[in-house]
């Protein structure tokens, strides 16, 4: 049984086929990358697995369970986390305050607990705080836990988004361009963080444009072009795949672009 299995998935927006009959498997504990030119359907593919979009046809399985029609928040409870291209953080609040809510899905306190501040509420607030602190430590931000988000750097915001996803206790994390808009040194740091996540047992699936980063860390790469899968394999296979070179890398044998 594959960890995550996507079978013949297609998504049409009116006349546009954003994702075209893609079959794909994600292996547990590995780093899988999805690459492709702009508009290739990478983010849409994420949204299909995640549940933001319902596919026109095809199915998605998570640990053998059909999750094609599962609402997004229930997928999160099963252990599917994701980050977005643009970070949606609460700027006026502190770093830690942004992460605490990430553990909300593992707590049960309701309105009643809130108003009467029950034992359960206090216990779960404590747990959520601990979990948030652990997540921040994991991404190396525990020292700035009490700092307002509006004052931290772009790279720290990217890490914070990962910490937030981590607080949900995920089995798999979908990262949508985690290294966009940050410099090469920081990119390296982020690659290290992703390896660390995979080593801790969390399956990683990422969309990324930075080839050097991808080639250095991915176990498997899928290449999408105009919604269709044109190649799949290890970084070496992808580098030498003539179809990929022609369609995506524009005739250059190796892309050095950062």
């Amino acid at each position: 049984m594959a960890f995550i299995e996507v079978k013949g998935i297609t998504k049409k927006f009116g006349g546009l086929t954003a994702v075209d009959n893609v079959d794909f498997e994600i292996e547990q504990g590995k780093i899988t990358a999805i690459i492709g030119p702009n508009g290739a359907g990478k983010s849409t593919f994420f949204n299909l697995i995640n549940g933001f979009h319902k596919p026109t046809s095809g199915r998605v399985f998570f640990e053998g369970r059909d999750i094609t029609k599962l609402p997004v928040h229930l997928g999160a409870r099963l252990g599917i986390a994701r980050t977005f291209q643009t970070t949606h953080l609460f700027e006026q609040s502190t770093v830690i305050d942004n992460v605490i809510v990430g553990h909300r899905l593992r707590t049960k306190s309701k309105l009643f607990d809130a108003v009467f501040r029950t034992k359960r509420e206090k216990q779960e607030e404590h747990n959520a705080y601990q979990k948030a602190m652990e997540s921040l430590e994991f991404v190396g931000m525990e020292k700035i836990a009490q700092v307002p988000v509006s004052t931290i750097t772009q790279e720290e915001k990217k890490r914070l988004a990962i910490a937030l996803a981590l607080a949900t206790d995920p089995k798999v994390m979908f990262l949508d361009e985690p290294a966009a808009g940050i410099n090469p040194d920081e990119t390296e740091g982020l690659a290290q963080l992703m390896k660390k996540l995979a080593a801790s047992g969390i399956t990683i699936c990422t969309i990324e444009h930075k080839m050097q980063m991808i080639m250095g860390m991915a176990d498997k790469i899928m290449v999408l072009n105009q919604g269709a899968k044109i190649a799949e394999g290890t970084p070496n296979e992808i580098k030498n795949n003539p179809v990929v070179i022609e369609a995506y890398l524009g005739g250059e044998p190796i892309a050095e672009a950062n």
């Binding site: 999160a76 809130a114 607030e125």
Partner: protein, 336 residues
């Protein structure tokens, strides 16, 4: 620690002030009446703050729900001669039930569509009250709504006793708001305000949470409406008018939307400004309008939000550069 103590002192001073206020103005019924009305409106604005300020869904049906609360109490106590307290409870429950039904439909829309939809719902409630002569008395309104029935030796005949009754409900409303906002449930609401998409990926059922938040906020409006009916003892369809909801919104925005003390600050400010500018009649809007515009441009989080922003900036400046990233948590553990 100093900060919390400070905040506590401010709250204690305010509560004591509110408690002794009627003693200072013992023979000035007008001042007490204005203050009591202000408290009632503040309860409603706290409700609006919960859904608009913390959950991020701008509901403009609040005057409608305020009116449902007011009319339920009015009709039950005049026509059915029901006990005030039972009628008050039923008014809050009926308003919440109406909120639940309308919320189920309204929350299928988002952002400005939600605001427009709820604005229309509010207007429909106004029309319903205005035209349904048989039930609501139409434009003539409801007259002779009784004062609250006494509880044992406690009677509510004097302006002072009504003041204290309303104050008690206001304190309870604020208390519940604070508890909700500072809980995991409150964090959930704030996450939804922040980004609904992100909240969903964090496993939050946004639909249920928005609905619950909406129903509580509506219950606040119903409670405020019921208290209003029994204070003024006369209600007309005007309580459901769109002017009313835009007044609430103005109090909320100027006081500080999404802050815990904003509704009280905004409501009190405007209630008294309105009294001082009374002689200018409708021209007082010439002053309110620019205030609102300036606030939205320069202090989008209102007086309270602006205050905290300035305070945070000053604190940030005071700290030496290296300790800007000061974190009290590990510091404490090293002290041990």
């Amino acid at each position: 620690m100093g900060k919390i103590l400070n905040q506590r002192t401010v709250i204690a001073v305010l509560v004591i002030f509110a408690l002794v206020f009627p003693l200072i103005y013992a023979d000035n019924r007008y001042v007490l009446h204005v203050m009591t009305i202000g408290f009632i409106f503040a309860i409603s604005v706290y409700g609006m703050n919960l859904i608009a300020g913390f959950t991020g869904q701008l509901s403009l049906a609040h005057a409608g729900f305020f009116a449902i609360g007011a009319y339920t109490l009015g009709i039950l106590t005049t026509r059915n001669e029901m006990n005030f307290w039972l009628a008050l409870l039923l008014a809050v429950l009926l308003t919440s039930a109406a909120g639940l039904v309308l919320g189920l439909i309204a929350l299928r829309t988002k952002e400005h569509f939600f605001a427009i939809y709820t604005l229309i719902v509010g207007y429909l409630i106004y029309l319903l009250i205005d035209k349904w002569d048989g039930l609501t008395g139409g434009v003539r309104g409801l007259i002779g709504i009784p004062i609250p029935d006494p509880i044992g030796p406690l009677t509510f005949e004097s302006a002072t006793s009504m003041y204290y009754l309303v104050l008690a409900f206001l304190l309870l409303s604020i208390f519940i708001s604070v508890r909700i906002v500072r809980s995991l449930t409150g964090r959930t609401y704030i996450a939804i305000r922040n980004s609904e998409e992100l909240a969903q990926t964090l496993g939050i059922n946004t639909r249920i949470n928005k609905l619950v938040s909406f129903v509580i906020s509506v219950a606040y409006a119903g409670l405020a409406g019921a208290l209003y009916a029994s204070l003024t003892r006369f209600i007309g369809p005007d309580v459901a008018s769109t002017n009313m909801v835009f007044n609430f919104l103005m109090y909320l925005i100027v006081g500080g939307i999404g802050t815990l003390s904003g509704p009280l600050v905004g409501t009190m400010l405007f209630i008294w400004l309105e009294q001082f500018l009374r002689s200018y009649q409708e021209y007082h809007l010439l002053i309110f309008g620019p205030i609102l515009v300036l606030m939205v441009i320069f202090f989008p989080t209102g007086i309270v939000g602006g205050f905290y922003k300035i305070k945070a900036k000053l604190q940030h400046k005071k700290l030496p550069k290296e300790s800007k990233y000061f974190n009290p948590v590990p510091e404490k553990s090293t002290e041990k």
